[in-house]
Symmetry: C2
């Protein structure tokens, strides 16, 4: 299969990884979206271990307690320098992301963090819901992938619509500050505890 | 082997579980400490699923941000009623435990939460450090178990000496409020993020 611009766009949206890397992964996987994600995951791990890219090792841990302590959130936002970590806009971003996590209940940071067995399960559910639509397999795949993107927009922090402006994603909110600061900024980890919920 | 009071005491200290249950587990395991913990773990899981005991489903999530956001802690402390959750002393306990986690870096809540392979690894390390002391196996086992307790006191929140009074454990601090309130109180979960550390 040909590596179309559309496929590259989809992979970028699902992984948040740059165009050239997505194109290469699709070429390597024979345009198989899941295999391409797997390839990017493996590369990501290898890269993290090699520590060869500009490391986002500084940062800030912020918290947000909601509903008189029934919900609590902890977020680690990383950047490259202590200078950026101490910047008011960076601190504001930590606060915004904490409130996002409290309100929108993401379960993972990015689509690549969703365990493969959960993605498979979700695909099965989508297919079962759709039933037999008597459409060609290529069209069906497109419909399933579209619904899978919706799933990622629900459960992945970076793919979620920003709570204060649903025209942009949390990913875009972070990208705006990255552009302004000229530094790599990323969500390192988060925790969300809610009384009475696992 | 006989189920001695000493063994029961040790198992109670390691698990925080009541005397009768510890005694029964030791009897079932032929006085093997690790097997007894395994038995209690299995029972604990089964019980949590059955939800037959008095459930600590209410509670409070508290946070503590330390060193200008380089360290952040989130703690869920559970109790049985909303009444206790709103009590000032309960709220104070959440704060104390959050500060404990920030300062003393526990990795698990109780000794039973430490994965078996970590306990095994730790035993190997202890045995290697001790070398051949030319002592009877029963004495050796006692020495190793004693050192293992020290390990649990380092890495398990409930076993740690309380940061403000190292004569008592965090477990005792909680037990004091349980006695006062007459309600089951337990640490549901905690998270500790530190910039630059996994």
């Amino acid at each position: 299969m040909e590596v179309t611009a559309e496929k590259v766009k989809e992979l970028r949206e699902r992984t948040g990884i740059g165009m050239m890397e997505c194109k290469a992964a699709l070429a390597e996987s024979g345009c198989d979206m899941d295999k391409a994600i797997e390839i990017l995951r493996k590369k990501g791990y290898a890269r993290a271990e090699a520590k060869s890219v500009r490391a986002a090792k500084e940062g800030l841990v912020g918290s947000y307690i909601h509903m008189n302590g029934r919900i609590g959130v902890l977020v680690e936002l990383n950047c490259e320098s202590d200078f950026v970590a101490r910047n008011a806009e960076f601190q504001e971003l930590v606060k915004e992301i904490s409130m996002q996590v409290a309100a929108a209940k993401p379960r993972w940071i990015a689509a690549v963090d969703v365990p493969p067995h959960i993605v498979e399960k979700e695909k099965e559910i989508i297919q079962a819901q759709l039933g037999d639509m008597k459409k060609p397999p290529a069209i069906m795949e497109k419909i399933v992938n579209g619904k899978l993107l919706k799933f990622f927009e629900e459960v992945c922090l970076l793919e979620q619509p920003y709570i204060r402006d649903d025209k942009i994603k949390v990913r875009d909110l972070i990208a705006q500050l990255v552009a302004k600061m000229g530094e790599n900024i990323k969500v390192g980890r988060f925790a969300r505890f809610e009384i009475g919920q696992e």
